[in-house]
């Protein structure tokens, strides 16, 4: 957030490193991100090509996580699945943050009937449970990687509108915004340099938490066949494939399940930790 390492940033950083949620969550998230980025180099096998003779093998020295019905290496598919989740969650949250910050911030800043209309729409969108809104969109636009991104971005969008609007309204009431006007700052400059940066902390925290929820929702959509389509490896879809062998070959769903669980946990821990460290700063 702040480029130069001044004393107060250093203090925040030290506080962050002492926070256990941040340390544990950070390690998990870093592992997940590295796995996603380096998938082509660290996965032992091609995740899409299988050997039917090796179908449904339990974990062994050749395949540490075993194989699925098509004889594909589950470890490689879990690693590549991280890449899919990483793309879907970060791109969709990124889109939602940008759109939400612009709409929420402007809505608060401009006020009047525009703000009222925006608030109403957001309230309606938020009244649907996450997965329902995503399901609805996915059902309309159809399955596929890009469409999952759109669906997940859309369900995240109203949340960021609300957060940004709230903190922009708060910042707007701060005297420094009036003081900024008093030194001749323009509206655009006040929005970009006063309201935005002062709303950043809650946005960062929420973006982290929403990444967790987005990974879960994207996996859910894929599990239901409305998400990422084969042959692209995806954890939810892998678990869905395992439905027929739930008991006979549990390793097919256990490993992607564990990966999903740990990753979501990691983002939630990181988000909680960031919340502890960043938000007291807003008290000033």
């Amino acid at each position: 957030m702040l480029v130069e390492l001044d004393p107060s940033t250093k203090k925040t950083l030290r506080k962050a490193l002492r926070n256990r949620n941040i340390r544990v969550g950070g390690i998990i998230v870093a592992t997940f991100v590295l796995m996603g980025l380096l998938a082509p180099f660290i996965a032992p096998y091609d995740p899409t090509k299988g050997n039917l003779r090796d179908s449904l093998l339990p974990p062994c020295s050749k395949y540490p996580f075993g194989t699925d019905f098509a004889g594909r290496d589950i470890l490689s598919r879990v690693i590549w699945g991280a890449r899919t989740s990483l793309i879907v969650s970060t791109v969709s949250v990124f889109i939602a943050v940008i759109a939400g910050v612009l709409v929420g911030g402007l809505s608060a800043y401009v006020g009047g009937w525009i703000d009222e209309v925006v608030t109403r729409i957001v309230d309606v969108m938020l009244s649907f449970p996450d997965i329902l809104l995503a399901l609805f969109v996915a059902a309309i636009v159809g399955p596929g990687l890009e469409n999952v991104i759109v669906a997940v971005a859309l369900y995240n969008f109203p949340q960021f509108v609300r957060i940004m609007r709230g903190s922009a309204l708060q910042a707007k009431e701060m005297e420094f915004v009036e003081a900024a006007r008093a030194i001749g700052e323009s509206n655009a400059s006040i929005f970009a340099r006063y309201l935005l940066p002062n709303s950043l902390a809650p946005i960062v925290v929420h973006a982290t938490l929403r990444t967790a929820a987005s990974i879960l929702t994207a996996a859910g959509l894929s599990f239901l066949g409305l998400g990422v389509q084969p042959p692209i490896p995806e954890w939810g879809q892998m678990m869905s494939d395992a439905r027929t062998y739930l008991v006979t070959a549990p390793h097919v769903w256990i490993f992607p399940g564990i990966a999903l669980f740990i990753t979501v946990l990691g983002f939630n821990l990181l988000g909680d930790g960031l919340n502890d460290v960043l938000n007291p700063k807003m008290e000033v």
Binding site: A182, G184, P197
Partner: protein, 320 residues
């Protein structure tokens, strides 16, 4: 005259009704002059200040005229007004804890003011900022430049804001209760600093306070405001030696004295400005009020050279 306010009326539209926060105020300010405006909280001082610098909320309606540097400010385009603000007219607010953006360093804040209005280089901006931090007696200006607001005390922040308000050599500096939010010991230091700086710069000042003692210490002239109106205006010597309006006299008795002694607050409080009292707005609290005061509004009249009062008991039937 640098500033001429004529028959200024400002009202806020609220759910409870129209608040006539400033009602028919006329005043003028010469170059290098300091006008202190004094009155209890809710008498419209801040509203008057905000109307001069053009920062009233959208719910406010302004009538009358404010002429500054031969420009009519009430009809000035926002574009043009923005160029005046922070450059020709500056303001120091009451609350230094929240007047600075928490995400900017002091250096960035001061540098931006310079760059917004002067252009020029970052280096010039910073050296001017450093120079002014020295003038407001901030210890270690270099370190303060790289500090964030929350690292500074209230008094330090107010010094920074005062430096920022004077840095570009403005024509008019408005200070709206600049010491009211500070510790008593710091208040005195800041007041001394302001008095000192006043003699070093070319600017004119409007200094707002609720303490008549402070007003007379800082101002060349003092205007006493009550319920949106100026009720008395005179040189500081006159205000002290010959206060005429019963409200001014009340304020004078309410000033804490160095010698100790009893402070007598004026009984009652400033009335709602949605439905102000009829006649003289002070009559419900005035020890001298009669029927006429409740019916007829007294006009502001010159009773001596440069001494103006709005009171029936003074201007109507001679001294009482």
């Amino acid at each position: 005259m640098l500033l001429e306010v004529h028959d200024l009326r400002v009202s806020y539209h609220t759910d409870e009704g129209t608040v006539k926060a400033v009602d028919s105020v006329t005043l003028s300010l010469g170059r290098r002059e300091t006008l202190a405006i004094v009155g209890e909280s809710g008498s419209g001082k801040s509203t008057l200040a905000l109307s001069i610098i053009g920062l009233l909320p959208k719910t406010a309606r302004v009538d009358g005229s404010i002429r500054f540097l031969n420009k009519e400010l009430t009809s000035l385009r926002e574009e043009e007004f923005r160029r005046l603000r922070g450059d020709r007219i500056t303001i120091v607010f009451q609350e230094p804890m929240t007047a600075l953006n928490p995400v900017f360093t002091i250096g960035k804040f001061m540098r931006d003011i310079y760059l917004t209005h002067r252009g020029g280089t970052e280096k010039d901006a910073l050296s001017l900022a450093r120079e002014w931090l020295g003038k407001v007696k901030v210890p270690g200006p270099e370190k303060v430049l790289s500090s964030y607001p929350h690292e500074l005390s209230g008094g330090m922040r107010q010094r920074v804001l005062i430096a920022s308000s004077l840095m570009l050599e403005p024509d008019l500096v408005i200070m709206d209760e600049p010491t009211s939010a500070l510790d008593v010991s710091v208040q005195a230091q800041i007041l001394r600093l302001i008095a000192e700086l006043k003699s070093q710069v070319e600017a004119s000042f409007i200094f707002i306070t609720h303490n008549l003692g402070v007003a007379a210490a800082v101002g060349d002239r003092v205007a006493v405001m009550y319920a949106g109106k100026i009720v008395e205006m005179a040189s500081k010597e006159e205000i002290f030696s010959n206060p005429m309006h019963p409200y001014t006299q009340g304020l004078l008795r309410a000033v804490p004295k160095v010698s100790g002694g009893e402070v007598e607050p004026i009984p009652g409080s400033v009335p709602s400005l949605v439905n102000p009292p009829s006649g003289c707005r002070f009559h419900p609290r005035c020890p001298l009020a009669d029927e006429r005061c409740a019916e007829e509004e007294p006009a502001l009249m010159e009773v001596g050279s440069g001494h103006w009062v709005a009171c029936h008991r003074v201007s109507g039937s001679g001294r009482w």
